[in-house]
Amino acid sequence: MPQEARRRDRLVGLFALGLVLFNPPVLRLFAGATLFGWPLLFVYLFCAWAALTAMVALTVERRRRRSPVEKD
């Protein structure tokens, strides 16, 4: 099932993306600053978190829609 495998690989890719997004050197870029008075690090972390989860949702749910009857 190449389609399945591709989705699985995409999720692993998202895992790697998550490792990068939530890594201290990246976080330091946002530390200490503010955005419209909100702490930038706080805003960044939750935005990145939500985006990552949304991408997981897109990846997983698209699969569901295309093949409502899964065999495995």
């Binding site: 989705r7 699985r8 999720l11 692993v12 998202l14 895992f15 998550g18 490792l19 939530f22 890594n23 201290p24 050197p25 976080l27 330091r28 530390a31 200490g32 503010t34 419209f36 008075g37 909100w38 702490p39 930038l40 690090l41 706080f42 972390l45 939750f46 978190w49 939500a50 990552l52 989860t53 949304a54 997981v56 949702a57 997983v60 749910e61 699969r63 569901r64 899964e70």
Partner: protein
């Protein structure tokens, strides 16, 4: 007027009653076959048991003291869920296939159904979980205390609540234990699923999310002028704004360590394993949970920072930061909201305690008690009451231990610190799980070494200091190190200083843990059982699961097996399971033989009830397993290599087939080409025949129509008619010859022939033609040329053809044709050179084809039939020689014929005269 404490206790009691109702409703629905929890949303909500009172109260406390440091605990699970289809679904499916009922069972089963691994993991899990359970009890009593101290905020009369408080923890512990016992140990079942509990947990997840979000919104929208306002005011105070600058020296390494810790915990925590794997109704639910659960985590964490900041800004200094969720609404007079928040925290604590104790009781019963009872031989014929009793006792024991811990270590550690210490203990299973699932060679001994080493380091660096700070152990240990060696200080082992205690403990324990697993596994061989279990777990995706029965051989009686399993699962349930298996294999239930699959079934059923390690011991007591001999292994190996051989041969044949197809295609193309050539030939021949016929016919008609034609003219016309007729005859003869040669029907009179003689005769015969055309013919034919085997007349025909061809293309008057015969080492070479226009290199092959005349055939009338050279070449080739054309030295063309010596003639058969017909 109702007393504050009474109101709070009433609410708590009502809430617990509601939980009991939900759980019992869930169980009833499950019994009726209409599962309440068969949904991916409920599954995701039950996973949120991860968010305990530690999340509810502790995150705010941690955020108040060190900013965003609480987030890695939730980012870690998010990352692990990205690996859902690689890691989680693998654990899920492997566990379903092997009826695994706990994390201890998973590791034991993977590492050769080892009782030692199961026991070790259980002990560590219990030791690691007790502080965590204590933490929940403490959180409930603390929150209750805060609520009662602020009774003014509840709008009720203040009473002295200390009498109630003294025993709160005991009460809470008792009620939760009762709940776990009622719904967690209802029956011994091969699947170990508790739908009622899961339904209650899912409900509690909603309650804690709603109440926390409510407090968050209240803080932002009621207490302050929007969340921007909170942040703006916090920014004005330096001690608050520095929470977001990631400034501590070890912030980075702590962040990474916490993320890793949380990643390990979400997989290894007994309660997470319970809800994620054991209670899972359908593996497909995991798909949606992959994003729903992280989404839940985001939602419940979104307001942590605003609540913490709002608390710090508005609550009087000195308030315990772990109670800010309650203090915030209480301090501003919103008693009902505080009550809701209290119920949220109660849910969080209750769900954790319930699931954790049920999971631990399964582990204690299956992996500690049953093996011990087996060894002592204390198991009666019907074991179910015994097992249920053990489990109930285990739940009570674990809760009691938690209660004792809370009494002993009271107040010394913050909520988060206790939680992290607990996480670090179960994280010791993480390397074993990862290596176990992905590295086939990870061995039982390696895992035992790694986990023990990691656990000892954990105990030394994280557990002992908590005892020391509680006054149980001398403080000198903590400050100076064991035996006074400062390199052994628990907080800075081997001089590794400057890290957070949890990070420090995690680094050392993981280092030794992983080193133990990898190092020992590399140097110690696995047993046969370990190897086969490793293959089942690691190669699960390749369908290795179906091969299980092949590596087993033994003898057993079905009746023995049924009786054995019946002791644990009940007679009726067991018979039904065996009958279902027989039907699944298309057999009559009474005719089920005790073959490998049947024994596996018994072991699987038992594994569901008492764990794989114990199940193996039990089954082994009625089955006489014969070790698989070398011969048997060789046979299996043989079959495999045979299959490989077959596939290799098949490949080879398909390659051959391809080659044959290509050959056929080429042959077909050649046939089409020949067909086309034949058509060309027919049309060319018709054309060639029509030309002389037309001229004969037209001159004959002139003669017929004009009887008065002059005698001279009449003669002229008749001569043309004769000449054209001759041409026609020649053409027909040539074509007949050609057809005969091609069909192999020509009669050959093969004999010993001297090429020189034939050459001289041909030159003499054509002398008149040369003289007519004023072309000079030079004959250079030596004597004594070796003879060849040929048909004299045909060879003569060839030479005549070549000579007449030469004279045709030689210039009139100045023409010079040379006929020469030479010998070389193995043949005779006969050549005819002219000084005509010559033949372009590209045409040199073409002129030997039929009807191919070189030059412009439209303007120059062709002389000859166009078949001479083709016939000549065929004749020569029949004699075993070759015919070709080259450039003559003085311009023009030189046609050469080479014939082999008599001795080198092609073959006897061809050389013999064919019989005349």
């Amino acid at each position: 007027m109702l007393a504050g404490s009474a109101l709070v206790l009433l609410a708590a009691a009502a809430y617990m009653a509601l939980l009991f109702a939900i759980a019992s409703f869930g169980d009833r629905r499950a019994a009726a076959g209409r599962s309440l929890i068969d949904s991916s949303v409920v599954y995701a909500l039950s996973l949120a048991v991860y968010c305990t009172s530690w999340t509810f109260y502790g995150s705010v406390g941690r955020a108040a003291s060190s900013g965003l440091d609480f987030l890695p605990i939730y980012l870690g699970p998010t990352l692990v869920f990205c690996l859902g289809w690689v890691l989680l679904s693998r654990i899920l499916r492997v566990s379903k296939a092997h009826r695994i009922t706990s994390i201890a069972d998973l590791l034991a089963s993977r590492f050769g159904k080892s009782g030692a691994v199961a026991g070790l993991v259980t002990i560590i899990a219990v030791i690691g979980s007790v502080p965590y359970i204590a933490l929940q009890l403490k959180a409930v009593s603390t929150s209750l205390k805060v609520l009662l101290e602020h009774q003014g905020g509840l709008g009720v009369e203040a009473v002295d609540g200390t009498s109630v408080l003294r025993d709160t923890e005991l009460w809470v512990a008792g009620v939760l234990a009762l709940f776990a016992i009622l719904f967690g140990t209802r029956k011994i079942d091969a699947s170990e699923r508790h739908e009622g509990i899961v339904a209650a947990i899912a409900f509690e997840s909603i309650v804690k999310l709603v109440s926390f979000v409510a407090v968050g919104l209240f803080a932002g929208l009621v207490l302050f002028d929007g969340f921007g306002d909170i942040f703006a005011r916090a920014a004005a105070r330096p001690e608050l704004s520095q929470l977001f600058d990631f400034g501590r020296p070890s912030a980075s390494i702590d962040w990474i360590a916490l993320t890793f810790l949380a990643m390990a915990a979400i997989v290894c925590l007994p309660r997470q394993f319970q809800v994620m794997v054991v209670e899972n109704v359908d593996p497909r639910h995991l798909d949606r949970a992959l994003w729903l659960f992280p989404a839940y985590l985001i939602a419940i964490n979104l307001f942590v920072v605003p609540i913490a900041l709002a608390g710090l800004l508005s609550v009087p200094a000195g308030t315990d930061p772990d109670t800010l969720v309650l203090a915030l609404p209480l301090g501003s007079g919103y008693g009902k909201l505080a009550l809701l928040a209290f119920l949220g925290g109660l849910s969080a604590a209750a769900s954790m305690v319930i699931v954790e104790t049920v999971a631990l009781s399964t582990m204690i019963c299956n992996d500690l008690a049953v093996p011990m009872l087996l060894r002592l031989g204390w198991l009666g014929p019907d074991t179910r009451p015994v097992l249920l009793g053990i489990r109930r006792g285990a739940i009570a024991l674990v809760v009691l231990l938690g209660f004792a811990y809370v009494r002993i270590v009271r107040e010394s550690y913050g909520l988060v610190s206790i939680g992290l210490v607990s996480f670090a203990a179960v994280a010791q299973f993480f390397p074993a799980i990862i290596f176990g699932l992905f590295w086939r060679r990870a061995s039982r001994l390696g895992v035992l070494t790694g986990i023990s080493a990691g656990f000892l380091v954990w105990a030394y660096t994280l557990l002992l200091p908590s005892f020391a700070s509680a006054g149980w152990l001398p403080r000198e240990l903590f400050e100076q190190g064991a035996f006074g060696f400062s390199v052994l200080r628990p907080s800075a082992l081997f001089g590794l200083d400057g890290l957070d205690p949890v990070t420090h403990g995690l680094v050392w324990s993981m280092l030794l843990n992983i080193a133990g697993i990898v190092g020992v596994s590399l140097f110690v061989d696995q047993s046969a059982l370990e190897r086969s279990q490793a293959a089942l777990f690691v190669d699960y995706w390749r369908g290795a699961g179906h091969e299980e029965g092949r590596l087993w051989r033994g003898t057993a009686q079905v009746a023995d097996l049924v009786q054995l399993v019946g002791r644990f699962l009940g007679e009726a349930q067991t018979r039904e399971a065996f009958a279902a298996e027989a039907r699944g294999r298309g057999r009559d239930p009474s005719a089920l033989a005790a073959e490998a699959e049947t024994v596996r079934l018994a072991e699987r059923l038992l594994a569901g009830a008492i764990g794989s390690a114990s199940a193996r011991v039990m089954v082994a007591s009625v089955v006489h397993e014969e070790p698989i001999g070398t011969e048997e292994l060789m046979r299996i190996l043989d079959e495999t290599s045979q299959a490989i051989e077959y596939s290799r041969r098949l490949e080879q044949q398909s390659r051959t087939l391809e080659a044959t197809t290509a050959e056929l295609r080429r042959a077909n193309e050649r046939l089409r080409e020949l067909d086309r050539l034949k058509d060309d030939f027919v049309s060319t021949v018709s054309h060639e025949l029509r030309t002389p016929l037309t001229s004969i016919r037209s001159f004959s008609e002139i003669l017929l129509d004009n009887p008065a034609l002059e005698q001279q003219q009449r003669q002229e016309f008749l001569r043309i008619i004769v000449k054209e007729s001759e041409r026609l005859t020649r053409l027909t003869n040539d074509m007949l010859d050609l057809a005969k040669i091609e069909a192999g029907k020509l009669e050959w009179h093969m004999e010993r022939v001297s090429a020189s003689e034939v050459a001289r005769e041909a030159a003499a015969a054509l002398g008149q033609l040369f003289r007519d055309k004023s072309v000079k013919l030079e004959v250079e034919v030596p004597d004594g040329v070796p003879t060849t085997i040929a048909d004299r007349d045909r060879l003569f025909q060839v030479v005549v053809n070549l000579l007449s061809n030469a004279v045709k293309f030689s210039p009139r008057d100045a023409g010079l044709v040379t006929l020469a015969v030479e010998t070389d080492s193995d043949g005779v070479r006969l050549s005819v050179a002219d000084n005509g226009p010559g033949i372009a290199p590209t045409d040199r092959d073409a002129i030997f084809e039929r009807f191919r005349q070189v030059g412009d055939t439209l303007t120059a009338k062709p002389e000859g039939s166009g078949l001479g050279l083709a016939i000549s070449r065929m004749i020569v080739e029949h004699f075993g020689g070759r015919a070709w054309v080259e450039d003559a030295p003085g311009g023009g063309a030189i046609f050469r014929v080479w014939l082999p010596h008599e001795s080198a003639a092609p073959s006897a058969a061809d050389a013999q005269p064919r019989p005349r017909k």
